[in-house]
């Protein structure tokens, strides 16, 4: 059961400001105790997530920013406590990040009982470094991130409490769709006005999804073509400096103690010399292919294709392009889609006795 609400735009107000005002109002009225939301940094430096408890400190919030700061889902892990903690938190996350939160909930990293998840219909984001320069650039000319250009799920999944709709909405309102009872309570407490779900909504959403599916399918084919060739993997990883940024920003990579930090995968002094003797030559830093293949084997079932890994890479390793060729196929093995539902068990935590993958 979904419940539609509207939040009317004030005269001369844009959607960004209206969405900000909604969050401020929610704080003011005590619908939640804190809000996690992208906010503009001083001096136009870009955007970062802010966790605000006072409405007046939300002046720089940009809930509909066309950029995706890093660490949103990870910040939720740190902000929430088992049982929900002392205050309820509303988190405005992109649909892909919200899917990551769904994965983290299932992996028992986030307790959702104190959360109100809010996701806008996502028209795509630009790299953080392009954010300032992209202000005023027409929609169609924005240099969207690859993750966004091939996104199959640009709208809130079913476990998101509130979808912040633009698709199917009138020009003078924000359409708010409560997809859970908690979302409904939040919107009522914030003072949003209940309405009938607009007829155009479902169709507009279906069109967004279909466009994303098409772009994704094309990229999947291209990626398989590119990386299916022997040697392609090595050249794709050639520039990797093993800084592990891709791993550190990955919202679904959650182990506190990582296998990849152990000695088995980081040659100690003698081991590197041994390897050089054995092979004749060894690239330094070593173990880059080991690192990336292991990472993929570990997280591909949970990967939501947010592309933060690629955005964080200082040397341009085409990580997302690589993942695009295998992501859906890996999840299809288990009829799984990362972030689709809190009810679906993560593939590595589950099995069926009679399954056969050969």
């Amino acid at each position: 059961m979904v419940y539609a609400f509207r939040w009317a735009l004030a005269t001369g107000e844009d959607r960004q400001s209206a969405a900000r005002r909604l969050l401020q109002e929610a704080l003011r009225r005590g619908a939640v105790g804190a809000v996690l939301v992208p906010a503009e940094l001083p001096g136009g430096a870009g955007v970062a997530y802010a966790l605000a408890t006072r409405p007046e400190r939300l002046a720089s919030a940009v809930p509909l920013a066309r950029a995706m700061p890093q660490f949103g889902p990870q910040d939720l892990v740190r902000a929430t406590e088992p049982g929900g903690g002392p205050m309820r938190i509303a988190a405005v996350l992109r649909p892909c990040e919200a899917r990551a939160v769904v994965e983290l909930v299932k992996l028992k990293q986030v307790d959702p009982s104190g959360l109100v998840l809010i996701s806008p219909d996502c028209p795509g984001t630009v790299e953080l470094e392009d954010y300032a320069a992209s202000r005023g650039v027409p929609e169609k000319d924005l240099p969207l991130r690859l993750a966004c250009r091939i996104c199959r799920r640009p709208v809130a999944g079913k476990d998101v409490d509130v979808a912040l709709g633009t698709a199917g909405a009138r020009d003078d309102e924000l359409l708010l769709i409560a997809q859970t009872e908690r979302g409904r309570a939040f919107l009522e407490a914030a003072g949003a006005q209940a309405i009938e779900l607009p007829h155009g909504r479902a169709h507009a959403v279906a069109r967004l999804v279909a466009r994303g599916e098409e772009a994704h399918d094309a990229q999947e084919r291209a990626s398989r073509e590119r990386f299916g060739r022997p040697g392609a993997l090595e050249s794709a990883l050639a520039t990797c400096i093993k800084c592990m940024n891709c791993m550190n920003v990955c919202p679904v990579c959650y182990c506190k103690e990582c296998l990849l930090y152990t000695d088995a995968f980081n040659p100690t002094a003698g081991a590197l010399a041994d390897k050089a003797r054995r092979r004749g030559v060894v690239r330094v830093p070593t173990e880059t292919a080991q690192f990336h293949l292991t990472r993929m084997a570990h997280v591909m079932t949970a990967c939501v294709m947010c592309g933060q890994c690629e955005s964080a890479c200082p040397t341009g390793v085409p990580l997302l392009e690589m993942y695009a060729g295998v992501n859906r196929r890996v999840q299809d093995l288990f009829d799984y889609e990362a972030g689709r539902s809190v009810e679906e068990a993560p593939p590595f935590t589950d099995f069926r006795e009679d399954e056969d993958f050969s």
Partner: protein
């Protein structure tokens, strides 16, 4: 490493090198039985005894491939027979992911195998290794360990 190596057999001819992660309760004991039964299989097989096929992280299979193995065999108990009840079911899922990844990244997934071999199946163990060797001969030396970035 693969092509220059002569290996335990001492022969100059290239033979595929296979690393085997064998669960101690079933497949390793099966390999033991193959030995005491004097069944022949390639001397380029390198067994590594593990407690359970479910303990074989794909990381170690990948490591073997990158460090010069031409193929990797993971041996576990038959479904329903796992000493730890469900380890082999979990191995099966991890392995399915690994094969899908390798296939999408230009590494022939036939280089890795997951087989159920019980403690009484010495014959099956030897046959599996021999069959794998035949297949790897056709595939040729593993290019991955040579191509790794230099």
């Amino acid at each position: 490493m693969t092509t220059e190596a002569t290996g335990p057999s001492g022969s100059k001819e290239w033979r595929p090198r296979i690393v085997g992660f064998l669960c101690t309760w079933c497949s390793y004991t099966g390999a033991d039985l193959a030995g005491v039964s004097r069944l022949q299989y390639t001397p380029e097989f390198i067994p590594i005894r593990v407690m359970c096929s479910g303990a074989v992280d794909p990381a170690y299979v990948i490591k073997a491939l990158l460090e010069g193995a031409d193929g990797v065999l993971v041996g576990g108990c038959h479904p329903g027979d796992c000493h730890y009840l469900t380890g082999n079911y979990k191995a099966r899922r991890r392995f399915a992911v690994l094969k899908e990844l390798l296939g999408g990244l230009g590494i022939d997934p036939r280089r890795v195998r997951l087989e159920w071999i019980s403690a009484s199946e010495g014959g099956r163990f030897a046959a599996t290794v021999n069959e794998m060797e035949r297949e790897l001969r056709e595939l040729g030396p593993n290019p991955l360990s040579k191509q790794e970035l230099l």
